[in-house]
């Protein structure tokens, strides 16, 4: 469902962030993307969300080359991708419920659907009872669950988790990873960018390792260090 074909991203007057990357991810896969800071992981995410365009190459998602999309199509691309970030990116003055519903308000879902779906995803992430609370009252792990609930509210076929456990202690991190696995098991393709060696090593999922903008390793049932 996702294909990088000879993708290169060079910033003007800067280093080459991605160098001739070719990568293919099938529907329903769970993929870890690992690598040092500056290896090109963030660029990968930005290219997928069309925040940036590659210098060369094609990125095919669901049969469409997203590098050739017009500006007006980009919002619809992003609706098909759920994103979770290390820093949660929640609105502090909105309740948990409002934060999740926002993703659906923005795509103009009907109020009834929003109501139903928000309740469902909050149940899924185990926060149904905290729906009316503000994010500030929640722990880091809970906040990331809210962000995850928001990411899947529009039922995307594809979720990118960019260092989702980076700010969490190991135990909480495992809770989030289990949720990601559950969502993946329900059919959602999952791309998790991470530094968490322990998690990668114990799950033995597919691992794509980046170094200096190149894919240096791509293994089924891989580990953090090759």
């Amino acid at each position: 469902m996702l294909e990088f074909r000879k993708v290169t991203k060079a910033y003007p007057n800067g280093p080459i962030a991605l160098n001739d990357v070719t990568l293919s991810v099938s529907q329903g896969e769970f993929v870890f993307v690992v690598g040092q800071s500056g290896a090109g992981k963030t660029t990968l995410t930005k290219l997928l969300l069309r925040e940036e365009k590659p210098t060369q190459g094609q990125i095919i998602l669901n049969g469409r080359d997203i590098t050739k999309m017009r500006a007006g199509e980009i919002p619809y691309l992003r609706r098909s991708i759920g994103v979770v970030f290390q820093d949660f990116r929640l609105m502090p003055n909105w309740t948990v419920e409002e934060n999740v519903a926002f993703a659906m308000v923005v795509v103009e879902a009907s109020p009834r659907l929003i109501h139903r779906r928000v309740a469902k995803v909050l149940e899924l992430v185990g926060l149904a009872r905290k729906a009316k609370q503000l994010p500030g009252k929640l722990s880091g792990g809970e906040q990331q669950r809210v962000a995850l609930a928001r990411a899947i509210a529009n039922q995307p076929a594809f979720v990118i988790a960019d260092e989702p456990t980076g700010n969490l202690d190991p135990e909480t991190a495992w809770g989030i990873v289990k949720l990601l696995l559950e969502i993946n098991a329900a059919g959602t393709t999952m791309l998790m960018v991470t530094h968490a060696k322990q998690i990668v090593d114990s799950l033995r999922k597919r691992v794509v390792a980046l170094e200096g903008g190149c894919v240096v390793r791509d293994e089924e049932r891989g580990v953090y260090h090759g």
Partner: protein, 298 residues
């Protein structure tokens, strides 16, 4: 593209714009105030122009000329009357004796005639022929012909006054438009700045909107509405002040300057208010549009 938003979503947009307006209440007040002042100035000048114009129109409709005479004997006067009647375009010639002129003057001043007391025995008025032109357009040419006749000392007609009034109307309009252009520009920038601050205050929300796939117009609408609301409220304030001020001014001035044909407040004020609302809306939308284009990278 921008119409591709479901109607119910506008509820969200208005709510969103409203909360911004309340949160930045000082900027909101400043913006509304500037728009209101700009539109108020424009409105005052428009009302002035309309009223001076009305006076000009009234004077212009008067087709009468007055030819003041030198001392003439009856024969000379009769000859002059025949000459006057012979001028093309003259419809009616009436002799006004000094006594009649005096009576007219008394009538004109009505209850205020008191200050004329004592003059009646030493009537300072001159004999005259009152002429009526068959059309207002010929008054000027008739006046010129009359002035050339022997025995006519002076010709008075409305044309000169009309021209002066029209010149004043033009000047009032020009000054009004000039001031307005400057003030409109200033208020546009004030609104643009308010929206810029709002965009900055909501940058977090905006970035989330982009990640979850909001269209560019979905992100823009609340800011456009915010600008629109600022412009419209400014226009409402200006219109209200103008309406109140005009009623008040006409009431007190009508007594002081009874001969001035003040334009009735209705429907003049309604039209003015509509014009100001349209202009306020334009200022608001252009102002927010400037900031949305510059600072909202969607």
């Amino acid at each position: 593209m921008f119409t591709m938003v479901k109607p119910r979503t506008f509820g969200y947009f208005f709510q969103s714009a409203g909360s911004s307006l309340v949160r930045n209440s000082w900027m909101t007040l400043a913006s509304i105030g500037t728009v209101a002042v700009a539109l108020l100035v424009l409105g005052v000048f428009m009302l002035l122009a309309v009223n001076v114009g009305a006076m000009a129109a009234q004077v212009e409709e008067q087709v009468e000329l007055t030819a003041y005479l030198a001392d003439l004997n009856n024969q000379q006067r009769a000859q002059l009357e025949a000459e006057l009647k012979a001028i093309p375009g003259v419809a009616l010639v009436t002799f006004v004796s000094r006594e009649e002129a005096w009576q007219r003057l008394l009538e004109w001043y009505g209850d205020d005639r008191g200050f004329l007391a004592g003059w009646e025995d030493d009537n300072p008025l001159r004999e005259a022929f009152a002429l009526r032109a068959d059309s207002a357009f010929r008054v000027g040419e008739i006046a010129a012909a009359v002035a050339r006749l022997r025995g006519v000392e002076e010709v008075i007609h409305g044309r000169e006054i009309v021209e002066q009034l029209l010149a004043i109307t033009r000047a009032v309009r020009l000054v009004g438009i000039g001031l307005m252009a400057g003030l409109a520009l200033a208020s546009t920038f004030i609104i643009a700045n308010t929206i810029r601050i709002t965009v900055f205050a909501r940058r977090r929300e905006i970035s989330i909107m982009r990640y979850v796939g909001a269209t560019a117009w979905f992100v823009r609408w609340p800011f456009i509405i915010e600008g629109l609301v600022l412009g419209l409220i400014g226009a409402v304030v200006a219109s209200s002040v103008l309406a109140w001020g005009y009623y008040f001014a006409v009431r007190s001035l009508a007594a002081a300057i009874p001969f001035w044909p003040f334009v009735a407040p209705w429907p003049l004020l309604q039209r003015l208010a509509l014009a100001l609302l349209a202009l306020g809306a334009l200022i608001g939308v252009v102002g927010s549009g400037m900031s949305v284009r510059r600072y909202l990278d969607v």
